[in-house]
C-alpha cells in the first residue's frame, strides 16, 4: 500500500484541539483550586465552572494496549480528553461532579492507582536504564518500581510535611535532572574505563576525547594511536565513554548507587537548591535493590518525623544543619560528602558555630 505524503517541519498539532471545552472556556480565568484527596483536586473558574481532576499513577513506559485502556476511560467519562503530567502521571478531568465517583470507581476496578497530589510522594521522574540506554549503569525503571512499591502509601494516602520529589538517574549524565530533587538516586561507576586501543583510531576523535575529561586525566598514547588515562585523576564520570565507545566504563560488580538529598526547584520560601551527596555507594542489586529502597524510606521517615509543616527536605536540613541531618539519620559521614571538585569553596564550613 502506498504511503501517505510526508510533511516536514510542521511542528506539533496545535494544543487547542486537545483542550476540553470547559478548559477552553475558562482558559486563563481560573480562580483557585483545592486538593480534595491525594488523588483528586478541583479547580474553580471565575465563571463558577468547576473541573475535577483525578490523577493516576503510571510506570511511564506504557504499552499501546494500556494507552488504549486509558483512552477508553477518557471516552466514557471525559468526552475523550486526557492529559499527562510532567511527572508522567495520567490525568482524567470531568466537569460534571456526578461523573467523579463513577470515574474513580472504574479506575479502581480496573487497577489504576490514584494519588500523587499535594503533600506526599508523586511519581518518580527517571531515565531509560537498561530498557533502552547505552550508558546505563543500572536500571532506572526497576529502581522506580521497587521504591514506589515500598513508598506507595505516601502516594495514595499518607501525608508528609510538604511534597517530596524523588528522581532516578541511571548514570551521572542525569538525563532526568535529578540534581534538584528532595531525594535522588544516581548510578555511579567506580573504575577507570578500559580502552579497546585497536578501535580507538576508527571510532574516536582525539581532541574530543581529551576535551571530554573534566579532570584532564586523559592524554595521547602515540605508540598505540590511542589515549591513556591517569588513574589518580579519573573520577569515573564516563564522559569519555559518551564520546568514544571503545572506552568502556561498565563493570557489573563495581557499578553502584549514590543517594543525594535536599534539592528543590521552586522558589517558595527558599531559593532553588541542588541535591547533596549523603550516601556515596550501595551495590547494584537488581531486581529489587533492597538496601537502596531501605535507605530512601529511612530518609523519608526521618524527614516526616522532624520537619515542620511546609518544609521541604532541603529546607528542613538547612534549618537543623547538615551535621544534625547525619546524626538524626545515623548515616555515616564519609570523605565522599566533602566536595573535592568544583564546589569545594562554596561548601566547606568557615565558622566554628555548629552543633554536636
Amino acid at each position: 500500500m502506498a504511503l501517505p505524503q510526508r510533511k516536514t517541519d510542521i511542528g506539533p498539532p496545535h494544543y487547542k484541539q486537545f483542550l476540553p471545552p470547559v478548559i477552553q472556556k475558562n482558559y486563563g480565568k481560573w480562580k483557585y483550586h483545592e486538593v480534595l484527596t491525594p488523588g483528586t483536586m478541583v479547580h474553580v473558574g471565575e465563571s463558577g465552572d468547576k473541573i475535577w481532576t483525578v490523577r493516576v499513577a503510571s510506570p511511564r513506559l506504557l504499552s499501546t494496549a494500556t494507552i488504549r485502556e486509558q483512552c477508553d476511560i477518557a471516552e466514557k467519562y471525559c468526552d475523550g480528553y486526557l492529559r499527562y503530567t510532567t511527572r508522567n502521571n495520567v490525568e482524567f478531568i470531568v466537569s460534571d461532579e456526578k461523573k467523579l465517583e463513577p470515574l474513580k470507581k472504574e479506575l479502581k476496578d480496573k487497577g489504576f492507582k490514584m494519588g500523587g497530589i499535594g503533600y506526599g510522594i508523586s511519581n518518580i521522574v527517571h531515565t531509560q536504564g537498561w530498557v533502552h540506554c547505552h550508558s546505563a549503569a543500572t536500571d532506572a525503571s526497576g529502581l522506580v518500581k521497587s521504591m514506589m512499591d515500598e513508598l506507595y502509601e505516601y502516594f495514595e494516602s499518607k501525608r508528609l510535611p510538604n511534597k517530596l520529589r524523588l528522581a532516578v538517574a541511571c548514570c551521572v549524565n542525569m538525563c532526568g535532572a535529578v540534581h534538584c530533587s528532595d531525594i535522588a538516586i544516581v548510578a555511579v561507576h567506580t573504575k577507570i574505563p578500559t580502552i579497546a586501543h585497536a578501535n580507538f583510531k576508527n571510532m574516536c576523535e582525539l581532541p574530543t576525547v581529551i576535551g571530554s575529561c573534566p579532570t584532564r586525566a586523559i592524554s595521547p598514547d602515540t605508540a598505540q594511536k590511542s589515549v591513556k588515562i591517569n588513574p589518580e585523576k579519573c573520577m569515573f564520570c564516563g564522559n569519555c565513554f559518551t564520546v568514544c565507545p571503545p572506552m568502556s566504563i561498565k563493570d557489573p560488580e563495581r557499578d553502584g548507587i549514590a543517594i543525594v538529598v535536599g534539592g528543590k526547584v521552586s522558589t517558595l520560601r527558599t531559593n532553588p537548591k541542588f541535591s547533596k551527596l549523603v550516601i556515596p555507594y550501595i551495590s547494584n542489586e537488581p531486581p529489587r535493590w533492597p538496601k537502596v529502597v531501605a535507605a530512601v524510606k529511612h530518609i523519608v521517615e526521618v524527614y516526616a518525623a522532624n520537619a515542620r509543616k511546609h518544609e521541604r527536605v532541603g529546607e528542613w536540613i538547612e534549618r537543623v544543619g547538615w551535621e544534625r541531618f547525619f546524626s538524626l539519620t545515623g548515616i555515616e559521614f564519609t570523605f565522599h560528602s566533602i566536595d573535592d571538585f568544583t564546589f569545594m569553596r562554596d561548601t566547606l564550613r568557615t565558622s566554628p558555630a555548629f552543633k554536636w
Binding site: 506539533p12 482558559y27 504499552s63 477508553d72 518500581k145 521497587s146 506507595y152 549524565n173 521552586s266 571538585f341
Partner: protein, 409 residues
C-alpha cells in the same frame, strides 16, 4: 514467538505500583520486537550490564534529529532488538490529548514499531521505543501526514516543553502553552537540523512553583512573574483561619522577606518588599492573587553535572512581557544563540561558555545592562577587567561631579 524465562523481572510485576515489566509483556503478546525486548531486559538483570550500543546515524530524509539510533550488542540472540531505534514525536503543549489522536498514534506504532512507548520522555517528547531502520520513513510519513512531527535530538534546539499553565492553573503569569507552541513553530529548523555546539533547551513555567523544573534543566528557563501587588481577599483569609490554618506560623513566619503581617483579623503585605516567591499565594490560593503587569524572568544556563558540575539557571532578564507574536523574546533568543555559536567549543552548553567567557561578555553582546537582580551578591575579589572605556566613563563622571559639586556614586 520465542518464550523467555524471566524470573528476575517477573518479580517486578508484584506490588502496588504499576509495573513497566507488565507493560512490556503486554506489548510482547502480539509483538515480536517487544517480546525480544523482554528477554533482553532479563539478560541485563541477570548479568547487571546493559547491552545497548551507542546510537548510530539513523533518521528520516531531511532531518538531522528526532530519531535516536539504538542497536543491541546481542542482536543475534535477540533479533527483535537488533535495531531498536527511538522515535521522538513532538508532544502537544501541556500534554493534552484526545483519545482519537492517541489511538491513531497507537495504531501506527503497532503497525511499524514495538508497541512500547514512554508517556513521556524527560525532555517532553512522546517517545516511541523500538523501530527498525527500514521502517523509519514509513513511520514518519504516517505520522506527519496526520499532523504529527518529530521532536529533536543531538546538538540542536531540543523539543520545548511547558507547564499546564492557563489551561488549568490560576497562577500562570503568561500563556505557557501558546508561547511553547509559538517557539516550537518558529524554530523548526533549529530543532530538526542540528547546527549548534551542543543541545539547547527551553522550559516554560507559568510561575515560580516551576512545575517543569525549568530552572534546573533548561538552557533558557522562562519563569512567569508579575510586577504589582498581591491582592488580598480578607474574607477568605478569615476562612483559612477558621479552617485552622495557623496564619502566623505557616504564612507570616515563613515569608522569606518578612513582608506579611497578620493581627488575627487582617492580613497586610508590604508589596514593595515582596520577592514573589509564591509561598503565601500557593498556600492561600483562595485569598491571595498577584495583580498588575504580568510577564516572565529569563534565566540562562542550567544543566546536569557533566562536564564540570551542575548549574542552575542565572537570572539574565529580570522582567520581560510575553505577548504574541513574542518578537522581543525571539530576537533575544537569536542574539543568545549568536553569542553562543561564536564562543562555544564543541559540546559546550551555554552556561559553561558564560562561565569561561564571563557574564559581562554575554550581557554586553545580547544588550542587557548589569542589574543587581542578576546576582546573589557582588564579587568578592578585587581583580577586575577595566577597559579603557570603563575608566574613561568613571573619569567623566567625576569631572561632572566637580562641575556640579555633587557626588554621584
Amino acid at each position: 514467538m520465542k518464550k523467555y524465562n524471566t524470573p528476575l523481572i517477573d518479580d517486578l510485576e508484584k506490588g502496588p505500583w504499576p509495573s513497566f515489566v507488565t507493560e512490556m509483556k503486554k506489548a510482547a503478546k502480539t509483538n515480536e520486537m517487544a517480546n525480544d525486548a523482554v528477554g533482553h531486559l532479563e539478560k541485563c538483570y541477570s548479568t547487571k550490564v546493559g547491552y545497548w550500543k551507542h546510537g548510530g546515524i539513523v533518521g528520516v530524509l531531511g532531518y538531522g534529529g528526532g530519531v535516536i539510533g539504538r542497536y543491541s550488542e546481542l542482536g543475534d540472540e535477540f533479533p527483535g532488538v537488533a535495531h531498536f531505534h527511538t522515535v521522538r514525536l513532538n508532544q502537544p503543549s501541556g500534554f493534552f490529548y484526545t483519545s482519537k489522536a492517541l489511538k491513531e498514534i497507537c495504531d501506527i506504532w503497532d503497525k511499524y514499531g514495538s508497541g512500547i512507548t514512554n508517556m513521556h520522555g524527560s525532555t517532553g517528547d512522546l517517545v516511541l521505543l523500538g523501530c527498525r531502520t527500514e521502517s523509519l520513513e514509513a513511520v514518519f510519513a504516517e505520522y506527519s501526514s496526520r499532523g504529527w512531527d518529530l521532536g529533536s535530538s543531538g546538538s540542536a534546539l531540543r523539543t520545548p516543553s511547558c507547564c499546564v499553565g492557563p489551561a488549568r492553573c490560576e497562577w500562570a503569569n503568561y500563556d505557557t502553552l501558546d508561547l511553547n507552541y509559538a517557539l516550537t513553530q518558529e524554530f523548526q529548523d533549529e530543532m530538526h537540523r542540528p547546527s549548534f555546539s551542543y543541545k539547547f533547551k527551553f522550559k516554560l513555567s507559568g510561575c515560580a512553583c516551576d512545575c517543569v523544573a525549568s530552572l534546573a534543566r533548561s538552557d533558557m528557563s522562562i519563569i512567569g512573574t508579575w510586577k504589582g501587588n498581591i491582592v488580598i481577599d480578607q474574607a477568605e483569609v478569615k476562612n483559612y483561619a477558621k479552617n485552622r490554618m495557623d496564619i502566623n506560623a505557616e504564612i507570616v513566619n515563613m515569608c522569606p522577606t518578612q513582608c506579611i503581617s497578620y493581627d488575627g483579623k487582617e492580613m497586610k503585605i508590604d508589596n514593595a518588599e515582596c520577592s514573589r516567591c509564591m509561598h503565601c499565594i500557593a498556600k492561600m490560593t483562595k485569598a491571595l492573587k498577584p495583580s498588575g503587569e504580568k510577564g516572565a524572568t529569563i534565566c540562562i544556563g542550567s544543566k546536569a553535572p557533566i562536564v564540570v558540575g551542575s548549574l542552575l539557571s542565572w537570572v539574565v532578564v529580570p522582567f520581560i512581557k510575553l505577548e504574541p507574536p513574542y518578537t522581543e523574546l525571539k530576537e533575544l533568543i537569536r542574539k543568545i544563540w549568536d553569542w553562543w555559536d561564536e564562543n562555544a567549543k564543541p559540546r559546550e552548553r551555554i552556561g559553561e561558555v558564560i562561565e569561561t567567557k564571563g557574564m559581562r561578555s554575554f550581557l554586553e553582546y545580547i544588550g542587557v545592562p548589569p542589574l543587581p537582580q542578576q546576582i546573589k551578591e557582588p564579587r568578592k575579589d578585587p581583580f577586575m577587567f577595566y577597559t579603557e572605556e570603563d575608566i574613561t566613563a568613571y573619569k567623566a563622571k567625576e569631572a561632572e561631579e566637580k562641575k556640579t559639586g555633587k557626588y554621584k556614586f
